[in-house]
Symmetry: D3
Subunit: 304 residues, 6 copies
């Protein structure tokens, strides 16, 4: 509580408390959803693959033609400085989520949407709150397909990590009509498995790890981490086209995303996946990731 | 200037000055683009079709499962009250743009996106600033096709008027590669003419007024107004499928949107439309709209 | 019970009891789903639009290149004869469902699927059992969207009324994940509202009756009846493209199909439709249909 | 003849003669095409990859939510028992086709399609009748494209091996308009080569064996066998996207399916494939398959 | 024969004999298919709707950004002058086909395709040779569906009447695999009926005349003529989405195109259309067209 | 100049001067765009991969059912003979472009498009004129996306190298609206990167060379050469799905085509690619190609 009161946010050059971190309702983030983003987290208080995240952030900025006004190196420096400021407010067993939101700044009325004001840079650290997720590490979650489809890349490329994500909330709500605790499986407009809102999807079938190619989903850094861990474990991998049938008949299914790393799913649209328990490949990958970061990911969550 | 300083905003039950109208960076409007919207304007200080806009606003809220916490009647009352407060700050020849932005409120981390906090309600009045548009009333603008496509309705229905509109900014930038003053013509994923960012598109061919059916674009209230005016003028109307060929070979083309009502286009992808001047049907409709609202729409813009 | 024991079935020229109505497991109906069908019902013991149904049956046969071996007139005669046989077994307040299933006959192994044996003709009468539906006439049902899509016409035209309908069962099961009593709303591969399994879908919005055009769904005879009744009642009608947004924001929604004629829906994907009760246009149409057939359709169901 | 009279069928727990193997016309196999299936054959009286077929059968049952009422092990046992019963009725040079058809059992009228009765299990053995196919082993067949397209996976996944296959009969008839002996090449809705009715398609180009990926067609076990044989023969393999152009310009083309294993095609839409004879890779694969099963596949057919 | 020797062609300002009408193999018509076109014919030696054709020709030129170097009025004048020159060479009962082909002129190597040379203008008159068509007026032709699909408008709008029509020849050849005399029915990429190569398609069902909307086919002037004649005859008309099912179950089907005006089809993919004879609505429309042009269209063809 | 006057063309069996190389305006190349083509060039006066080009030419002829009337060996012989005739007219540092255009010959009016006359064979040699391209070797060109899409393979397979290429000219013009020197990047109807008009597109990202799979573009021989050179240089290669995002965020981008071999792009839709200079992988590949053909490709161009 005290921590919340003290935690700082970096806001366009200012260091402010969370409670004071506010932006104008005329900001293009609000007026136009015109805001790119990245999220990473710390493990043992160290930011995870920060440079990969910042590289992707600058790619999103470039493609959106937003000028952040600071270099990638400068962005890195303030990110680390913010973390240093907030670190003392965190318990020793806890970690931070590190979020960057960068909008095109104050929007101006008129025909031309080009950037006319300095970008709004928001960076904040939230303590990883895994209480909502932790039971899934052992029970597995329920993966459910929405009827609405992912936005196709020719409309808005999912690899531009951005905050215009109303569609994610809507498909998530659709999945929760089936089960209030459902995790959504979004299909693309051809009916192929695409992604979870902000996460990626893997299936294990006959020992092979399979995940959709990155041309119809966000190419997540957690996804990338799992692929690298799997290679180091010599698991056969296939980046391919997956369909609901593949998830229903898989031996194991899991999601990947920054907050929880790997979340097992043990049901899919009401059907039991495999034997209904968290499978060995999923556990092996969670173990390898824990080893990589020098801490037990599941134990941390369960301790919350 | 003074007016800017004094103008009030309605912000979730509070009346605050524009400069103080700020929301937390943790609001779901910023974090998730999870925000619906409506915009109307006044003519001669009277709000235009306010009830139609509010009805559509509540439809957007319903489909997004956002609980605004106030009834449509209450929303109407605060909207009119705000206008009454701000009216004295406006010159007699000027008018207001009236905007509602309603988000799902503060976002909470964790798996479930359901609304846990009161909605954030933002209502503001901006003086109509038509300086950027006014020359188009007489010269016509340059309509240009983007290569990215409109988000299909099965991904996010354009009729949910919302603020997750990064894609609009991106297609607008594409069109401006051709001409910095271009107005974008967005095609749907089948290549059919869909909409302008936040506006609709009409063509006049052999005396017939044609516009895309509303199943691949926002069904704008300005669009509806033009259709009603055309009916009253006994112009033949067709809601149909339009393609770039239809715009290139039309006699007249124009856009409709709340701020400018009707904006003629005299070029399309570098080709001259008709004889290159604002056509008689466009002028007739602008005249009819002016008559409907009891003021000269073009004259107001040109006086700015 | 006694009636069940006595009821006759017409089976390829034979008149047999229901319990004896069996066909070889090598029949192409079973081996290949190679079977076309029609269903009508009686009202006050009179078959409803039998000739329309038979015409469509013969169109399905023609397009499938199945030779039934009997003319449409002969098919009509045996249909009426069967009904005459079974009529005495029915209570005075009850009515029959009349079903035709016609397969390409015994299938033969080998490369060529052309018909080599006489068609298998199955005609039966089942007493209308509306106990499963009746509460929906007053409460309305829950319409729910499946995530799988309707089979597109370029794969198999829905207007060939056939028995290869596994996909209908699967989408129905998807909808029932949300609510065990859900009635499915199937979208086509573009995300447009298509049909219910074996039924059609209507929305009423601002007094206008809207239903999808028949190019992505079965052009049901009940659908046709509703359109004719609406015309006679001078209700404005639009055959158009509908999307889930249109159902969510409609004032009324209902399904049409042979067994129940018109089934109101009062919820759509968990959202209340209109004010949550069966609406006036729906009731008006049910009333008109009752008048057309000289009996109270709802009362009959409720008496069961 | 005598054999036919004596051959037994397993029918939902009963052992009956083929002529007595009948099911009610109210079974969901007939009423709804609600029936999954598998087919394998024997080579030298031994069933080929029976466990692979049964595994896929149980995956189809799972995805369709049909409860067969017996375990996979029990299904295997009755399958082998039936084969043991029928084996004495077969000539020493002949083999059996082994077919499983499992429906959701008797259908019940009413809104809910969930299974209410025991599944109907049909298992039968037919002597392999290759008279219709045998000339193609030496002459090659004529592959012809239909104009109707394969059902997309988002409508009904081809990997659910099922009996709702009217569309297969219709596309086969389309191909036979070109040549009464044509074997159909079905394209998917994007125009890519998908499958033959119940079979798969391979092309050999510059020594490389190519076949469509399994995401738009049934992943046949014969297809899998060919891929494994090709790997053992060190033939380069590509699972990729094929188009009619690829078949027209290939050096060799062949189909694979359970009854005939490999069927060469020497013409495609009237064009000669390669030099118009059965090619060396096709012959090599047929030889390898014969070796695998310890008998000459072609000789067996030609002896019929 | 003599006539052939004398007939003149207009070639970019020159008047030359047909045998001398040649262009460089470096012309963009040959090198790039970069050539737009129009075709009309005379009736009783009068050109039919010449101004409509020229208007469309200039629309094609505009959209292709080809500068013909002459105005529409000048084009009209040389067209009529050519006709006057060639008229004496024609028998009194015969008529001319009038064709305009206009290319971007000599092509230049290098990166930029913009027009650098004068357009090549080719105008010629061919005597209407209806010997190939005439039997269809009484017998009807065989309409057959190709498996390749029409080029979608987002790739090349069919309304730009152009000479890059290899795809038309290929689909025509596909249809002729079924019947060497087949007339092709081209579907669009969604499987909807689009057009014939250079012609349009109509169906008559229950007295209503139906033809595809012009957004997936050339909006032919013959098609327009039929719609106008039908309106004058008070036939109900629907411009809608047609599928192969609609042609197979229609009462009458016919094609329209400049050379033959209206060509009845009495078979569709081997199925008999209606009762297999040329239907009354088709005959009525042919009669009305004959009346419009003051001569018997069928008689003229049959006299050849 | 003198050379131009003397250069010979092979025209359907005749050897004529370029100025005399003309064909009838009734040829199917002009009347129907019914013409296939190949282009190669010489390096140091030796034709490059001539047999690969001729093989593909004969595949195009086969698929189009055009009978050229000469064998591939004969075609090769006249090609070399023509080159021998024209070689003396070329400067020692220059090279020839070798083009084959083969049409179905004179077209005949009437319903059937089958070939009735001898094919028209056009073969010519043009001195490589790289003046328009040369500056791009050092500055890089500007790659720009068109809004029209590539013709899908189910309409006309891009691998049939043909002269019905109006769509290429139109998309090229669209790109030039952005920049008169733009090189077009054509997307397919799913929004994936397809090809340049007559060329292919590569991206280099993190050291990996990526290019679209050949199922939505022409499988160019220059593309093939680059892939082979890359393999010999042990560069990692991926044939995959590329989207505009991939080009915008690539380190290097280049085009490949017969005239220029490899053309670097340093801007994409106005964004700088990589650091804005021609990248090391591009230079390495250009060097390897130069080595392969024994001459400096860039130096030759720059000397012009």
């Amino acid at each position: 509580m005290n921590a919340t009161a003290e935690r700082q946010v970096y806001l366009s050059g200012e260091w402010v408390r969370e409670a004071d971190a506010k932006i104008s309702i005329f900001d293009s983030a609000i007026m136009l959803g015109d805001c790119v983003t990245e999220s990473t987290r710390t493990f043992r208080h160290q930011p995870f693959r920060l440079d990969d995240h910042l590289k992707r952030l600058y790619q999103s900025l470039k493609v959106c033609r937003i000028d952040p006004g600071v270099t990638q190196a400068e962005m890195r420096a303030v990110t680390l400085k913010l973390l240093a400021i907030n670190q003392p407010l965190l318990g020793p067993a806890d970690d931070y989520w590190i979020v960057h939101n960068i909008s095109r700044g104050l929007s101006k009325p008129g025909p031309n949407p080009a950037q006319k004001n300095p970008a709004t840079i928001m960076i904040f650290n939230s303590p990883m709150d895994l209480r909502g997720w932790k039971k899934y590490y052992t029970q597995g979650c329920h993966a459910v397909t929405s009827f609405s489809r992912a936005i196709p890349a020719q409309s808005l490329d999912a690899r531009i990590k951005n905050r215009s994500r109303l569609s994610y909330t809507l498909v998530d709500q659709e999945a929760r009509l089936v089960d209030p605790e459902a995790q959504v499986v979004i299909l693309d407009i051809h009916g192929h498995v695409s992604e979870n809102k902000g996460g990626n999807i893997f299936a294990v079938t006959d020992g092979q790890l399979r995940t959709p190619t990155a041309d119809n989903c966000l190419a997540g850094i957690s996804r990338q981490t799992v692929l690298e861990l799997a290679r180091s474990l010599q698991l056969p991998i296939s980046e391919c086209c997956l369909q609901p049938y593949d998830l229903a008949t898989a031996d194991e299914v899991f999601f990947t995303s920054t907050p929880y790393c790997i979340m097992p799913a043990t049901r899919f649209n009401g059907l039991t996946i495999g034997n209904g328990t968290v499978g060995p490949v999923t556990r092996q990958l969670l173990g390898a990731w824990s080893k990589l970061v020098g801490m037990d990911i599941v134990a941390q969550a369960e301790a919350q």
